[in-house]
Each structure stands twice: as structure tokens, then as C-alpha cells.
Symmetry: C2
Subunit: 486 residues, 2 copies
């Protein structure tokens, strides 16, 4: 993406602002639940809509259906909020093939031998809004984008130090020294690949939704275990934490209009045209009104971490770029998150003001060096959408997890067999002491990853990824080893 592209796409008079010629519509993205829920009573159709409004079904994978690391998954559905469950999830093994040195982009992959595959694991949660389509597309697509991005740099990842030139060819004798001085490590290539994969997936979603005439967006929280490290990439307001016996460690930060206020205000400062004269980029404790004119009131602008007072002018009475507080905070009065995938067509109601220029699809990536931790059986990573974190703190979730894991040490499904399995009736906090009763208003989904498993599985090399993506019209030159699908 270039600055020129941005200006043409989002600023008034830009060529790309105009709708393109109408093309025949593609089929809508079909609704489905995650594949690993098959056999657990959730059909592939929009069965959610038929549930009782006072029931809160909890869905988990069937007992015989192990996720990577025997991870647990559950989704708890808010029966009234939307017709479809807009959360989606995806997980599986991530098998990165190796391209021969010097192979061109458009050459076929050369599979050298099974041992040279690099294998990881992948878990992803997508919290949709404005319809389920973007989250479904993300669940179908992001892992493929990530695999492609990792395969493009895998030569650098498996080297002792990423080479200056991917070919391994050394043009300057001191090239390794330059790389060393910059502190570039293999994990930086994985971080870069995650960043690129999110962007690529966002572009795919934009094209697909435009083709099918659908709309919507989603957050994305991804965990990838690779080469002894756990990478957590987050774009949106989901969250991952590491729960250990004596420690609760956040593995992600939330990206909302509040947490990204300065970035968003800065963009509106640089391109005031994006607000079309309808919004003020300044932040005030509440929306101002006529009585405030001429008064000195608390405010913040893009360059301020602290607060100051300013004399209220007429333009300050406009609707704020970021308005509301906590869960109610909205970007342009419309959206509760500031990063994620999709939303290419999203506009402020009854205006032509676009949300997309203010949204980032790039995730923030945290790296957990699993090999360096002295892991215990009960150490887990909890990844969950905002439905969980809106009502339970990190510490409360940690207490819940610690309360049921130790009692089920022999059960390989212990991360799945959590206390919320089955159906939980809707109830208000006042009606029950059940620790999950506050969840009754929320839609949420989460993964529970036993971190010790990654150390045990580091030596496992598999040759076929469960999602079995193939580039159309391509065949490997040699037979892919172990080609039986799981």
C-alpha cells in the first residue's frame, strides 16, 4: 500500500472512491461453525437461530476429536443478540514446506524430504461484527495466508541467523555482521510473516465480500507455536493470557478506539477530510453542547497523554471522533474496535464517511519463549473473545482454570472437559453464585492451550496439514510424503 493509494482510496476526489462497474455477484459466504465442532451437536447450517432464547448452549469439540496439544475449545452463545453466532474459530497443524535455495516465486515447490518440513500449530479466534461473513472468511483463509508468508521466508527462519539475502548468497563479507548488529532473529521473520498474513487476509476478505455483496468485519487473535516459541498475534479486543501456578501473564493488548486514541486522532489531524466536517477529533469527558460554548473544559488532542483545558468553540460541539467510555466507546459512533479484518465498506450511518482508513489490520505480536519456561502440567494459555474479558478479570479466569485442571490430570480431554460443557441456563448475577453467571449477556469463545504440550511435541514432524490447502493448478514434483488426510 502506498501513500498515493491511500489518498486515492479514501480522500475526496480519489479515483478509487467511486464504486467500480457492477460485476456478476458471487455466492454469499456460506454460514458454518468450526469444523472441529462437527459431531458435537452443532450442524453446519444456521442452527443457532433455532435455539431457545433463554438457553445458553455451550459447544465444545466431541470427545474423540482432539485439537492440537489436546487444547480445549468452547463457545457460549448469547441467544438474543444476533441471529447467527458471529464468533468463529480455527485450529490445526501448520506445515511449512521448504523451497530450494534460489527457487523463483513461480516455480513449483520442491519437497526435499519429510524431515525438512517445519511444523507448527495454529489456533485462531475471530469475533465478527456486522454479520458473520468476515469472521468465516478469516477462519477459512488466515492460516493459508500465514503458511504462504512463512514459506516465503522459511529459509531465513531455519538458518542460525536470518541471512541478509534470502538466497544465502553473501554480497558483502560483512552482511552477517549488519544482521547481527540489528539484532534480527528468526522470530522476527515469524512476526513479519504474521503481520503480512493479517494484511493479506484483510485484502482477500475485502475482495470476497465485495464480490458477494456482503459486509462485516472481525477481530483476530492467533496463537502459533513454532520452533519452541509461542507467537500471539492480536488485532482487536480479544485477549490471551498465560496462567501459571504463581503467575498470570498477559500475552496480548486490546486495540480499541480508547487504547488507540492517539493514533486515530493523529490520522484525523493529518487528513481532516476523513471526518467530512461532521466530527471533532478532540476528546472531551462528554459530548459538548451549546451551554459549554466559551467555557474552558477538559480536552485531549493527538499529541497529549495528559489533559488540558481549552476554551470551547463551535466546532468542538460536533460529534467526537471517539465517543463513549469503556465497552461503550465507539469510533465515529460506529465501531468498538480499532484493529481487525474486513469492514472495507463500512460507513457512518447515513453518511459517506468511511471507517476503514482508521482501522489497522496489522496485529501486535507477542513472543513467549516456551523452551525457556519451566512449565508445569497446569500451565495454560487462555485465548478468548471479549465476551469473557468483559465480565471476568485475568485473575478470575486464572482462578477458574486452576480450580478444575488439577482434578483431571489423567483426562487427555481435561482442557475441553471444563465446567461449562453442556448447556448452561441463562441467569443473572443476582440469581446465582455460579462464577459464570455474569456471562449470561455475552457471546464468547475461547481456547485453552496446555503449554507443556508444546515442549513434548517439538520433535514431531508431520507432512500433511489438516486444512490441506493447495494452489490451484500446481502439483509437487515429487510425491508428498504421508499424504493421508487427518
Amino acid at each position: 500500500m502506498s501513500a498515493g493509494w491511500f489518498r486515492r482510496r479514501f480522500l475526496p476526489g480519489g479515483l478509487l472512491s467511486a464504486p467500480g462497474p457492477s460485476r456478476p455477484r458471487a455466492s454469499p459466504v456460506p454460514y458454518r461453525r468450526p469444523r472441529f465442532l462437527r459431531g458435537s451437536g452443532s450442524g453446519p447450517g444456521p442452527a443457532d437461530a433455532s435455539r431457545r432464547p433463554d438457553a445458553r448452549p455451550v459447544r465444545s469439540p466431541a470427545r474423540g476429536r482432539a485439537l492440537p496439544w489436546n487444547a480445549g475449545y468452547a463457545e457460549i452463545i448469547n441467544a438474543e443478540k444476533s441471529e447467527f453466532n458471529e464468533d468463529q474459530a480455527s485450529c490445526g497443524k501448520l506445515c511449512i514446506r521448504r523451497c530450494e535455495f534460489g527457487a523463483e516465486e513461480d516455480q513449483e515447490w520442491l519437497t526435499l524430504c519429510p524431515e525438512e518440513f517445519l511444523t507448527g500449530h495454529y489456533w485462531a479466534l475471530f469475533d465478527g461484527h456486522g454479520g458473520p461473513a468476515a469472521a468465516i472468511l478469516a477462519a477459512n483463509t488466515l492460516h493459508s495466508c500465514l503458511r504462504r508468508q512463512l514459506e516465503a521466508v522459511v529459509e531465513g527462519m531455519v538458518a542460525a541467523q536470518p541471512p541478509m539475502h534470502l538466497s544465502g548468497h553473501c554480497i558483502c563479507p560483512s552482511d552477517p555482521q549488519f544482521v547481527e548488529e540489528k539484532g534480527i532473529r528468526a522470530e522476527d521473520l515469524v512476526i513479519g510473516a504474521l503481520e503480512s498474513a493479517f494484511q493479506e487476509c484483510d485484502e482477500v476478505i475485502g475482495r470476497e465480500l465485495e464480490a458477494s455483496g456482503q459486509v462485516g468485519g472481525c477481530t483476530a487473535l492467533v496463537a502459533v507455536s513454532l520452533q519452541g516459541k509461542l507467537y500471539v498475534a492480536n488485532a482487536g479486543d480479544s485477549r490471551a493470557i498465560l496462567v501459571r501456578r504463581d503467575e498470570v501473564r498477559p500475552l496480548s493488548s486490546e486495540f480499541t478506539p480508547e487504547t488507540e486514541r492517539q493514533r486515530i486522532q493523529q490520522l484525523a489531524f493529518v487528513y481532516p477530510e476523513l471526518l467530512a466536517g461532521e466530527f471533532t477529533r478532540l476528546e472531551f469527558p462528554r459530548r459538548l453542547k451549546g451551554d459549554d460554548l466559551g467555557q474552558k473544559v477538559l480536552f485531549r488532542d493527538h499529541h497529549m497523554s495528559g489533559w488540558g483545558y481549552k476554551c470551547v468553540e463551535k466546532s468542538d460541539l460536533k460529534y467526537p471522533l471517539i465517543h463513549g467510555q469503556g465497552r461503550q466507546a465507539r469510533l465515529l459512533g460506529t465501531l468498538a474496535v480499532s484493529r481487525g479484518l474486513g469492514d472495507h465498506q463500512l460507513r457512518v450511518l447515513d453518511t459517506d464517511i468511511q471507517l476503514k482508513p482508521f482501522l489497522l489490520s496489522v496485529p501486535q505480536v507477542t513472543v513467549l519463549d516456551v523452551d525457556q519456561l519451566e512449565l508445569q502440567e497446569e500451565d495454560v494459555v487462555v485465548m478468548a473473545t471479549d465476551g469473557l474479558w468483559d465480565v471476568l478479570s485475568n485473575e478470575q479466569v486464572a482462578r477458574l482454570v486452576r480450580s478444575f485442571l488439577p482434578g483431571n490430570r489423567e483426562d487427555p480431554h481435561r482442557c475441553t472437559a471444563h465446567p461449562w460443557e453442556g448447556h448452561v441456563e441463562g441467569c443473572s448475577p443476582a440469581q446465582s453464585n455460579d462464577p459464570i453467571s455474569p456471562l449470561s449477556q455475552s457471546l464468547l469463545s475461547f481456547f485453552l492451550l496446555a503449554t507443556l504440550a508444546v515442549q513434548k511435541q517439538l520433535s514431531i514432524r508431520v507432512s500433511h496439514q489438516w486444512w490441506a490447502t493447495r494452489r490451484p493448478g500446481r502439483r509437487t514434483k515429487r510425491q508428498e510424503p504421508g499424504g493421508n488426510s487427518k
Copy 2:
């Protein structure tokens, strides 16, 4: 500053880019050392130039000249690097007067009674470059800007909670609740005042340097103790740390082209015109050359924390926006810092490419709640310019400080009477085991603040600040109490 102003000022064809009509030149800013060094053997003139090139004079305040909190100060001069010592320092009491409710901006100050003065303390280090003028102006000006900014919000600072309206008038009954929900505290007003003061000071420096035909810039590191808290505001590559018996806590972050890479690249992405086709905004491990064309090399763009590989095109061979590593990293091949004051006229050598649009004058502010710490006699804050931190780590500095403070408990000047008092001969690390021998190549200055003193001095109210700034043509309506200068 508005987006329109930015575009007119910095983009091609902008009205403000053209030099204004020539005006009679003001006198150059006179060179001087900090006032509190008077009597310590450093005259106000450019005496630095006459020192022996192999000597490294260390200057401290005279023994009878106590700084606030009996703080220590020293500067160690590199005899060969520049004719003048480009570091400057300033410290003193900060006396904030209170304006009556509803008093207009242009009314005279109404001094209600001595008890209603709010007193703080102020220490500041300025590391100049391109000449000493900007650092001298900052040392002369920033405290006055800060005092003005604090006086403009002092009513909010002394309230239990900053009121929505500075007048205290409540327009909506729920205004206090809005402020509460935003979590706005008195310290946010001090942070806002520091941010505004730095910007105001930067504008003053720009005007003064333009008027006198001088150039230059400086970093600024400021510590302010106020209402039981210590605020550390930093713009540049100086650093402050808190040294306690069992803890070394950083109180600031450095702002350099490396640490602010993404912000700087982002600006070049938004306004490619700022690079005038002469630079590439992309980061590579080294500057690329013809042999790299067509190769896939490691790179980073503005949206990336990780690294990727890209195929080298001709435009990638341009000089990098940020080039070099560590201490050698330069913005546009010119400047080693990315925040600070001044540099309004600074351009890339032999071009019209300006540095200023990439520089921020806004500091990052850290708040240390001194009242909440169980302070010991030996707990100190060390503030120093990069000359110290380039050669000694935080831990090494902490060890040095811990080694001499406990032996001088009865000495009120013990923070000043440090082991570097007097003259230290220049020597290389190979010639000596003296822990400060690596400093021989560096110019540095630093303050040592005993944190326990702030708790002891909290109840002291003084009525006259030592720098005694007065607005011209104004008199207080009532007699200022205790008007004897210190």
C-alpha cells in the same frame, strides 16, 4: 498546530516554506554556564574554549550553593569535541500562583494568600547540537513556559478531582461522573502542562533563533516534584533512573531514530514529498547497492515490528531515511535524536529537505508516586545526558552511586561531593581501572536527586521562585509575600 499549517509549512509549494522578509537581526543568544555554577570557577563567558585539550574539567556548584533537595550536579567536558559545552542545565523552585475563579487570561494575577501558592521543584538538562544556542534558550525559558502552563490549570490541580469546567461551574449534574469515568486525575493536568510547555518552549526557540540568525537544537530532560509526585518528562536521548537499595527503575525512555522508527517511517509514508525523492523510507540491515538489485533482502516498513524479505528495486538503493546502528543511527543522515527542541532551520546538507517535520517536541512523561514509596536515605534519581549512558549501564551507574553515598551521610552536599569533583585527566579505558575512564570521550552532565528530600519538603511553601520571571508591565495587586530573593 493544524494539518493545514503543517502542509503549508513543510510540503512543497507551502506558503510558509519561503523565507520571510529580512528583518533587523536580534543579538545572538549570549553563551553562559548554568547560574548555579557561579563561584565554582566557571565564568559566564566561553571559558570552555581555553581549557587544555587533555584535561577533562568537572564542574559542580560551589559548596555553599545548595540546589533544591540538596541535589548534586556535575558536568564533565570533552575538551576536543566542540568549542563550547553544548549541554545546559537549570534548576530551582517552581512557584505556581493561583488565579481567582473566572479570572480572564488578560487580567492581572490575584494573589490570594501565601498558603495558596503551590510549590514544586524543577531540574532540567538540555543536550545541545549544532551550536549551544537552543540549549541556552531552553534553559532560560522552559521553566517559565511550564509555570505558565501549570498556572493555567492550577485550579483543576488543587481540586479533589479536576472539574470538567475550569471555572468549577457544573453545567451537567453528571459532569463529575464523566471525569471520574475517564479516570482523569490531577497528575494528568501536570502531564498535559509539561507537554504543552515543551511545545511552547519549542516555538519560542524557533522565533528567537530565527530573529538572531542562529541555529541548533537540543534534547530536554526535566524532573518536576509537585504535590508528592515526581514527574519526569523526556524528549531526546537523555535518561533518568531511580536508584534504590534493591532496585534500579528507568524513569524515561530514549527517543532516537531507532526507537521511533515506525512513527518516522509512517510520516514519510503519509507525506513522501518530505523525502524529495532522495531517501527511501524502508529499513535494510545496510545501505543497498547495485549488486543487491533483484535480490530478496531483509527489510522493514512502517507497519512492521518484525522483518520480511523484499525484492530490491532501484528506488531501494536511495539513502535510507534512518541509517546506521546504535549511537551511529541518524535521521536523514543528519540527526541522532528524534525528539527535542529547536532545529527549525535544520536541513539535510546541500538539500532543501527539512528535519523538523520528523521531530517531536512533545515529551513522554513518567510519574513516580514518591509518597507511596518507602524511601531510604540512599534512594536517588540520576538524570544524565547520553554521554553517561553511552558508556555506563543503569546498573553500573547504580553501583557507582551506591558506593559513595552511604559514606557521606552527614554531609548535606553529599550528592554534590561525588567522586568526580575536581579535575579528572583524560585517559583511555586501557590505561586505567577507574570506572569513569570510559567517559573520557564524552561530554555529559547530570543531576543526582535524593528522593527522600521531597517528602521532607512537601510542607514547605515559598513565595518567590529563584528565577523570578515576571511578565513585563505587570504588577500583582497585593504585595507578594516574602519577596526576598534567595
